[in-house]
Amino acid sequence: MPQTTNEYLLILPFLVLSAGIIVSLCVELFFRKGKELLPYLSIALFLIVAYLSVGQIYEKNVLFGGMLITGGIPAIFNLLFAAAGVLVMLNSIGFLKKYGFYHGEFYLLTQLSVLGMMLMAGSGDLVTVFLGLELMSIPFYVLVGMNRKKVSANEAAMKYFLLGAFATGFIVYGIALIYGIMGNTSLIDLTENFYIYSENIIFITGFILILIGFSFKIAAFPFHMWVPDVYQGAATNVTGLMSTMGKSAAFSVIFILLTAVFMNDAGSKLGNYFAVIATLSMLYGSIVALSQNNLKRMLAYSSISHAGYMAIGLAAGNKAALAGIMFYLAAYTFMNLGAFGIISIIEGEEDKQTDLNSYAGLAKRFPFLAGMMALIMFALAGIPPMAGFFGKYYVFISAIQSNMTWLALVGILSSVISVYFYLRVVVYMYFKEPGEEISVKSDYSAYAAVIFAGILILSLGLFPDTFLSVIEYIISV
């Protein structure tokens, strides 16, 4: 079946990014100064992708015989990935030099992983899901272990690779079982006949296996063991990339898998699975984070608990939950990128200055950085009018709408616990006397990334309706 040119026009964001990756590879190969040029090339690429995705938001299309879907929710995810990619790139320009392992391949691998995420968000077939997942994960494994002279980075990469490969195995086995029942791998067929298929025990087994695999990727509780070590061992900008965009991409696939559940406002048998995961992740993440002194490790546990809050929405399984989780993901992405941006500015060589004591008295030395960090910590704790509050609010509302009030209550309890460790950072920055002198190199592009993240957090928090109405419109069509 020959494709029409129209289809190639609609996948222009993918084509532009793919062409950009090849151009970047050539730049890296043939120009001595390529490394200096690549971050700007990547930023330009991501901006083009963002521009093209914005144009596609209101027109949904199914392409290549149902393999790929553009427009609608995939377009919003593409926009999110592109915006987050720009922030990561701005953050990396100065950080990579400081980190002591400065190679142009970092930018290439980031672009590749973003392409994989876009494929995941737009997939209309289980094969495309798998292709996108691998295209995202393999660059992540390499990025985590990018500094091969550092023992902790090597350990992190090894752990992430082995557990990630294991999770992929779950997903493939699940796909095989689903294929055995459906006779095809089309997600469109799966969505249309979800309630018929879900009477079949083998189908549900396969479906849960896939969900377990993606629970690894979103770092939910029983599948979280890799998170703290990997987030701490990887370079700070890579941690920002993995913890935000990787999680969003995994959620985008879960959305596609559960489209039938969300659209019928009916919930499903799988609600219990997600309710258990949500409760355990929220409480475990919040409680263990209380005793962490390393900021990267603390944010890793906070990332587990945030996965729990979003899983509340998956348990609720209605349209409000879909909109709420999308909002939460956008808010979480910019909050975490801002937080990791500030950590990467303050971080010294050899992983120094990532513990809480380095932040003592920061407000006196770097009032701007301390102010931004305080803003982001308030947002992560979920204090209005920052974006984090509305994310949690919409997700809890959706849980109450589908008669899961107890789950919302557990969520509120966990948020209260988490306020302690977020605000402890603020207390250290503002009310403690400065300890030993820390050296911070000024890095304007990283400052710009932090400022952008702050603006986005505030604007999402002050005008939540603008973003939410777009999502609700797309869902209702």
């Binding site: 090849i22 590879l25 050539c26 190969l29 023992v151 902790s152 050899e350 992983d351």
Partner: protein, 132 residues
């Protein structure tokens, strides 16, 4: 009544029994005179030189990976070569683009020195212990 899988089961059973009979007959008939050389790993009568647990040069793996990539390329090109005429110029260009991208990968390996066995620059291992 036998299902399709039932036939496979019988086939598997016959295969297992066939092999077992072979081993059993060999065990009964063959003469048994073990010597030290015969019991060594390769049992070809030679004295073993050193341990088999040696470290291989990591470059073997790089070569193996490059080989694997170009091997998979052939697997993908065979079906393409059979049908590309039906798709006209678009089908031809798709395959061509695939080869161009692979070619750029080849250039990358060449330029980074992965195709040369004796890499001139040897980096001393600089492993530093980090805290935690």
């Amino acid at each position: 009544m036998l299902t399709e899988f039932g036939k496979i089961l019988i086939f598997l059973l016959i295969a297992v029994i066939f092999v077992l009979i072979g081993f059993l007959t060999a065990r009964i008939i063959r003469p048994k005179r073990p010597t030290h050389e015969k019991l060594l790993t390769y049992e070809c009568g030679e004295e073993i030189q050193g341990s088999p647990w040696v470290k291989f040069n990591a470059r073997f793996y790089v070569v193996a990976l490059i080989f694997l990539i170009f091997d998979v390329e052939v697997v993908l090109l065979f079906p393409w070569a059979l049908v590309y005429k039906e798709f006209g110029i678009a089908g031809f260009l798709t395959g061509f683009l695939f080869l161009v991208i692979l070619g750029i990968g080849m250039i990358y390996e060449w330029r980074k020195g992965d195709l040369e066995w004796d890499r001139p620059v040897i980096q001393p291992p600089l492993v530093k212990k980090t805290e935690n």
